[in-house]
Structures are given as C-alpha cells and as structure tokens.
Symmetry: C2
Subunit: 559 residues, 2 copies
C-alpha cells in the first residue's frame, strides 16, 4: 500500500522536496515519512580490511551529521516539524557494502585511476521503517559519493537530525568523470589551509578534479626537489611556497575526498618567475613596456628554441611529476607571445643556425617536454592554443582544455583530442570585477560580464560537438585566476558558483524525472548547498535575501 502511494507520487510530479541534494542524483525516489537519526546512529562498512581513508570518510560523515546543525530553509526553520520529529521512527544504522567481486582499494587510489576507469556510481536506500539504510558501490570512491549524498539528506532542529522524505531510493553516477575547479596560486598565494577548505567544499559537490595552476609569471611557489632554487628565488617568500610536505598533504587530503590533483606548470609562456633563478632560460624577462611582449606583467617566457632550455624544462617537469600521483599533468601552453621571441636575439640566432621556424622549434620543445612526461607515466594536458594556434605534434592521448571560447570545443573535437570545458564565456570566476591593471580609469575586466551561477548552469557540454565526438568530452570546470583574489575572497568568489558546473557535469542534461535541468528548480537546492557550506565554515555568498531563500519560487523574475 505504501508502495502504491509512493508510485503515484513519483508518477505524477517530481518535486525536489529534498532541497539539500547538489548535484541532484541521476535517479531519485522519495516518500513522505519522517525519520530521525538515533543517538546511537552508526555507519558500518561491510568491507574486508576497509582502507583507512574509507574509515576516515565514515567518521567525517558521522561528524557532519552531528555538527552541520543545518535547519530547513522554510519559514520557521523547521519549528513546524517539531511534532512530526518527536513521533518519527529512528534510523539506527547505515551499512556500506561493495558489490561482489569489487576490488578493495583506498578512495585515494580509486580517485587517481585513469579517468575513464574510475567508478563513482552508487545506490543508496533509506527505508521508512527504521531498518538499516544502505549504500552499495563498485568502489570505495562510489561509497564516498554515496556518503556525501547521505549527508545532504538531513536537517537539524532542536537537537534532532531528521528527514521528512523517507523512504529514499537513489541510483546515481556521474554524466562526466571530470568535474573540476582550477585555482591559480601564482598571482596571489593561498596557504594549504585555504586549499584544504576548498577541497572540502568541492567534495561536498562530488567534484573529482582539482586543477592546480601552481606556477605562472608572478611567482613560482612549488618547491621541486632538485630544482629548489626556482621557488627559493621565484616564490613570493619562503612562507609563500609549497614544500614537498605541503604538496603531499594537499594531494592526500584531496585523494581521501575523491579528488585527483592535476597540477599545471605553465610553459613555455607564463614563466617570468623562473628568471629569478635561471635568467639564461628566459626571453624578454621583465621587459618594459610589458604589453608588447606579454599578456600581462611581468613579461618572460622560456627560450623554447634552446635545447638547454628544453632539457631544463623536461627535467623540471619530470621532477615535479614525481610529487603528484595523478595520471594527469599539465604543461599549460597558453598565450605564447611571438613578439617576445622576435625580439630575443638568442632565440633568433638559434632559429637561424638550426634553420628551424618558430613553429618547428616549438614543436621540438613540446616533444621534449611532453615526451619526458609520458616517460614519467603521465597523460599530458594542454591549453587549447597548443592544438588550435600552433602546429605542434602532440600525442593523441593529450587532453585539451578549452578556455578562450566555448565554441572552440568544436575545433578541438575535430582534431580528435579529449576535451575539458573551461570556457571563459561560461566558467571564469574572475570576470566582471573591474580592470586590475593600474592607471585605468573605468575599465572593466577583459571577460565581462560576471559569470553568474545561472550562466554557468546553462552550459551544454555537447553544444559544439557532434554525437560521434561526444566520447571526447571528459567534463569541465570553473576557474579562478587570481589577479584580484587571495585568501580574503577565495570562498566568496568561488562558492557557491563553482558548484554550478559540478551539477552540469554530474547530473547531465536531465533531472531525475526526465525533465530538463533548469535554473528555476536548481535555485532552491543551490541555496541549501550554500547554507550547508556556511555551516561548515566556507564563506559562500548569499544568492538572495533570506526572505527569498525561505520561500522557493516567490522571488522569481518572471512573475
């Protein structure tokens, strides 16, 4: 009978009563029975010799269930539920299990598998009668994703942790494996603690990739064994650099949260900071005026035509690659300024003596550096210019990040490269905050306007891709370039906006009832996600007046 009522409900209208779910699962059924967590509530892993990071994840979930203390976003904040909660059945346990035959690996190991072979799917059942809830998956990574969903199902009122929507039945898996966030730690520095807080927030949105744009022309904060002089002289200060221990700390923190760390050492452009330790490898170093020879100050690019420089770079990348267990490694490749090399007598004399063109020399550099990475077991990642603007030979395995325009995905797909979407017209978190260059009276940012969460949310991963090319799309990410950001505004400029693409690439185009994903129904859930981040110490910004957050639909613009 309960079953009959339940089917009627899901047949006629999928109403996302459980506003807390972000990203929304691929399949979701909910009832209308109240359930509260027993004081003795515990989570058990039916996993032989559970990896320590799975045990840690369970402990974190139990902790969040107790400490989130997040009241429902309704008028009265749950006070109307008081009577119902009092009489609700208690849920005493949640059991985690791996599907028969699944290998038992740590979450960290699962998170860094080759991206196509990661297993993030899970099922979650919460019966309404108080009997044990369950999460099943094919991997510990899938169990982690299920635990994260479980955390988002519960609200707090007057000492009780409860849901009004049992039974809950979820079958879930991501539409795309790459759901990322890029952070630039070169233009301004971010302490490890800020990065960890960001990883926590990413994990709550089931994001899978932290793209760490670690170095650039402004500073080189990565301390790389064998090349420690580069950070010693190129970081803002010894306190503003990442030691091997810091890097290990970040990588293992991320891995335990189901996040792979894709580090980028941008080359051959965006390398002025290397001039402090290795001036011999840098062309047009700190040239003035910078605007002739660089996209932004300070100017300086690797002398890629020089074999000494190519070897130095390859060795640097190889040494850096050892610090990161990820299969991915990005060598950047954006905005190589040709004027810089045209003015560099050393580069010109090499080109002349070898008889190579600019593009031939660049191709040689790429083969040396990418070759070294592949030898180190890495899959190279590059920005779109390396395949769209330059005539360089790249392995077909190379992953290409589209940033200049969402429309450029078409050209990358046409060349048969795998794609990560990060287009500035949808996903750049820094846009719209005014010009940061000095002496500009009223200038706006180069990529105005501000990319609202709504704009990002409407991104279609297959918009410029043919059906035959769709397998090339790994996913996408929002990106924070930090000309105008540092720890002071990290949370507020990133959250909750960066969760927008997390749902685009997890949930795909449709809601659990088959209707198209849309900003109208997403808003209430994004409020929930945002307020839960606040409860966890992440200063995500308010999307609306609280009056609106408590009254879904009453502040819509179409009324």
């Amino acid at each position: 009978m309960g079953g009959y009522l339940f089917s009627v409900f899901v047949l006629f209208a999928w109403v996302p009563h459980i506003y807390g779910l972000w990203p929304i699962p691929r399949s979701l059924e909910t009832g209308s029975v109240a359930l509260k967590l027993a004081n003795s509530f515990r989570i058990t892993a039916n996993v032989p010799h559970p990896p320590s990071d799975l045990s840690d994840a369970i402990s974190r979930t139990v902790g969040h269930l107790r400490t989130d203390k997040f009241e429902r976003l309704v008028v009265g904040r749950g006070s109307a539920d008081s009577e119902t909660i009092q009489h609700a059945r208690e849920l005493k346990s949640l059991t985690l299990a791996l599907a028969p035959g699944s290998p038992v690996r740590s979450i960290s190991d699962e998170a860094i598998l080759p991206i196509e072979s990661r297993s993030e799917e899970y099922t979650l059942h919460i019966p309404s009668d108080g009997s044990a809830a369950s999460i099943e998956a094919n991997s510990t990574l899938g169990l982690l994703r299920g635990l994260t969903t479980f955390e988002q199902l519960w609200y707090f009122f007057d000492g009780q942790v409860y849901t009004l929507e049992a039974p809950v039945s979820i079958t879930d898996s991501p539409a795309y494996p790459y759901r990322g966030l890029m952070l630039d730690t070169s233009r301004n520095f971010f302490p490890v603690t800020d990065i960890k807080r960001t990883l926590d927030a990413m994990s709550l949105a089931k994001m899978s990739q932290f793209h760490w744009h670690a170095t650039d022309s402004q500073s080189f904060p990565l301390v790389i064994p064998g090349f420690t002089e580069v950070a010693a002289k190129g970081a803002y200060s010894s306190l503003m650099s990442y030691s091997s221990k810091d890097i290990q700390d970040i990588v293992s923190y991320a891995g335990a949260r189901g996040i792979d760390v894709l580090v980028e050492i941008d080359t051959p452009g965006h390398t002025a900071a290397i001039t402090e330790s290795h001036p011999e490898h840098i062309a047009c170093s700190h040239a003035s005026p910078w605007s002739q020879v660089a996209g932004e100050p300070p100017a300086g690019q690797l002398r890629f035509a020089s074999s000494a420089t190519a070897n130095f770079t390859a060795n640097l990348l190889t040494a850096a690659a050892k610090l990161f267990p990820s299969k991915f490694f990005s060598t950047g490749g954006d905005e190589v300024n040709t004027e810089c090399y045209a003015n560099d007598s050393q580069t010109q004399s090499i080109l002349q003596s070898t008889g190579q063109t600019f593009e031939q020399a660049l191709s040689g550099f790429m083969q040396t550096t990418q070759g070294a990475l592949e030898k180190a077991g890495k899959t190279p990642v590059v920005w779109e210019e390396m395949v769209l603007e330059h005539n360089v030979t790249l392995s077909n395995e190379t992953v290409v990040m589209v940033w200049i325009s969402s429309q450029h995905a078409a050209a990358v797909a046409a060349k048969n490269f795998r794609i990560v979407h990060g287009p500035s017209d949808f996903f750049y978190l820094d846009c719209g905050a005014g010009e940061w260059l000095g002496n500009d009276v009223s200038g706006n940012s180069w990529c105005d306007p501000f990319k609202s969460w709504q704009k990002s949310y409407t991104f279609d991963p297959l918009a410029n891709i043919t059906p035959e090319q769709s397998h090339l799309v790994l996913g996408g990410q929002q990106l924070l370039w930090t000309e105008q950001s540092d720890p002071s505004n990290l949370d507020s400029i990133v959250w909750p906006r960066a969760a927008s693409s997390a749902e685009v690439f997890w949930t795909g185009a449709t809601l659990p009832d088959g209707s198209p994903r849309n900003v109208k129904s997403a808003l209430a859930r994004l409020h929930d996600f945002r307020f839960r981040l606040i409860q966890r110490g992440v200063s995500a910004i308010a999307l609306q007046p609280l009056w609106c957050a408590l009254r879904p639909g009453l502040c819509d613009g179409d009324s």
Copy 2:
C-alpha cells in the same frame, strides 16, 4: 640646510613615499630621515579632563602601532631597511593638544554635531630628531583624525616600527563633511560584530557617516521601544534583530570612532515586513505577481493616504529617533509604486472620500512624518524621488540622497536642497554580480557593470553643480544593497572599494602638490590601505597580484 634640501624636494616633485596615507592629507611634507618608535613610546593628551573616548582612541592607536605589523610593500618587504632602522633615532612620544579656547567634548559628541559645524581638521608634526611629535586640533574629533593619520605612517620590520620619511608635516581637513557608507541590514542580516568591524575600517579611512538602511520589505530587524511587535514579527528571527542595547552599542562604537549613525527607516515603500505585525497599514501586501506592484519581492507599502497609517508611522519614527543621537534621520522615500495603490481599494476609497490626489495624500503623509521627526530635533533625509518625482512639500533643511543617476544632482541642486551623492552609476557596491531574482538564465545585475574603485575614484562631486550651488554638496558615499551579500562577503564586497569615495570626499580634487587626484598614483596607496586592513582582520580583496603590489607602476595598463 636640511630645510633647504627639504624645500627642493617638495618644489620639484611630490612623490608619495608614504604610501600608507589614505585618504591623502590636503597638505603634506615629508623628509627622508629614518625614525623608529621607542619601546617606551607613549601618547599624551594635553587636554584637561580628557574624555574617555579620547583616552580609548589613544590606547587603540598605541595598540595598532604594536599589532599592525605591516611590512612595507616593496620587494624584500623592508629587509633592505634593516641597517637604516638599526641606526635610526627613536621617537619617544606624541603629544595631542587642542587649540587654545577649544571646547573639550567627547569624540562621540563632536561626531554628531550638525554636519556643517563639525571640526575634523588637525595638524601633525613629526620632527626628524626624535623630539616629541605633535597633533593639534580644534576638537577631539580632529585629534582622532590626526591619530588615524599617525597610525598610517609606520611600517614594521623585524620587531621595529619605523618610518623612512621624517620629518613629516601635515595640515589636513576634509573637503566635504559627509563621507559615508550605506549598509542594508534588511535583505540579509548582519550581526553587531560585523557592523563594528566595518566601522573600524571606515574610521581608518576617516569616514564620518554610517548610513544604516536598517529596514526594508524583506525584514524589519530594529527593535523599537513601544513598537517591539514590528521586529518580533518582521525580523528574520529574534537572533536576527537589533535590540536597543545592540543599537546603543553600535552608535557608541561608531561615535568613538568619529562616525555619526544616520539610520533609515524606509517609508512609505519598502515596508512589506511591517505587514507581519500591522497588516492594516500595508497595501498590496505580498501580492503575486510582485512585479506589477513592487520593485522587488515581497510587495507591500504603507497606506500613506490613511491618517491612521500616517500617525502610526510618525509615532514609529519618533520612537526610533530616540534610539539615535544623530541629527540626521532618513525616512527613505524611494521607489513608491503607484500601481500598488491603484489596486488597493482602501487607499482608493480614502482618496475618493477626501477628494485628494495621490500626490496630495503623499504630501500629507510626508508632512506628518517629517514633521514628527523635526519635532524630535531631527534633520530629515530622503531619497531623490521625494523631490524629483513627487510633488510633496519638504522642509528646506531636508537632505536629499541622489542614487538613480549622478546626473540627477543637478535637479536636486536646482531645487536648493542639500545633497549627498550616492549614484548607482559610480557608487553601488552590489552592481555587476549577476541577477539575483530566480529563474533568470543569464541575466546581469540591473546596474551593470561592477563599479570598480577606479570608477568611484573618478567621481567629481561638483560635476553637475554650478559654482553657486556647490555649498549644497555635503559629500557622498558608497552603498551596499544586500540581495547577494551577508556576513560571508561583507568585507570582500565593501573593501577596499568603499575607501575610494572616502578619499574623493576628504581630499577633494587635488593632491598635496596641487596636481589632480588620479588613479595611477592612488593605486599604491590603496594597496597599502588594503594590506593594513588585512592586518586588522578585515578581509579586503587584493587589487592586483602581489608581484604588482610590491612594484608600483610596473603593472600599469598604459605601458
């Protein structure tokens, strides 16, 4: 001889070596002698029976000098100064004195004097030989401004607090008395601690007015004696309201920092929150769709045509006025929606029975409410519509806030009202963050683009004013409407941008050397101001990469 060198220096180029000064004083002379604070450094007030808030201000300054620990924004952060600091003379004391015949009043009392009679001018001298520094003023408020300047002159390195620019000689006074910041605490709530941190930052920029847009349609957080039901039912919650004690706390905290609190209870529009306690006074309350009858949700406006409502409002304002010692009190008056009243049968029947037009009834309401305020000793403040869009009779004493467009100042001046500039095209801090209304796929904010500090900085207070009308300009302010703000992003959305207008209205059009104020030279000082805020726990955003902040001029856009 030192004097000779010194004059040569100031004659040929005014270089703002003391980047820390924000706003820049009207007159400034500096030398090139190093001086450090003695361990025994103390500040003495040669003031008979010094008011306790002056003593507190002195203690705060001594505290900041010790705890700011702000290193110079240069490559090496002051390490190159080490030898110089070691051999520098010590400054042992700073003496504060009032000019002969000056009354001895508390800073708080001085800060709330009628705006034209406030005295903020001061002189500051720091000899280079280690003999006592001095600040002289005509009021304790002037002494406070001098102390604030003194705090900005010093840097920290390796345990020492020092300047490289003694002797320092400053004669300073504000170009305009009203240098404000508006904060909306209705759309989202801000705890007292956030407001206090904001007041601290304002005081560091010598700002004089906190315009507290306390109430609006979304919530009514002001607990007003005799009308406590309005907040009890109209605030978001009892924890999200300001008790009389909270208000007193904010007012006295502000006063001690030289800031007058101009509270606004917006009427007759923007009052939907009153409907929770007094539905009889509110027309088109929570009407749906809201867009026909309100600028934003929820709809609801005072039934101004009703004499009962006019009297209720007058009594409410009178009771609120008692909580605030300021001479100023704003009754708002923006965005009165005529459609709301056209649909309100009660209003229509009153208009019919009294034979009044809409405008006549509004004028009557304004006379009742403004009259009550004037009886309570207040100078009424209104938004521009009350003089530009409505035909209501207002006292000539009324201060008018321009917000819709900077060009509207001309029309307000033509009507001979005093003006506070707060135009959305220069000073709205919320612009450019995307649409906050729901169900908007890619909408931008109504007042795009983002108002950068540079844009605000170029504001000319006399741009639309004839020389004969210039006396009408009291000053201006930046404003934060909080549809998309709450404590999570208060600091980052306000600072350092709000300091931009603080310098516009303190310093006026010219730098101490007579050259025009300009964004190029301002940037280095604004960096300094921003980093000092960071040292004080205010999360002001980064204006540029640190690389640029350490190298003034090298990241200019004109190179």
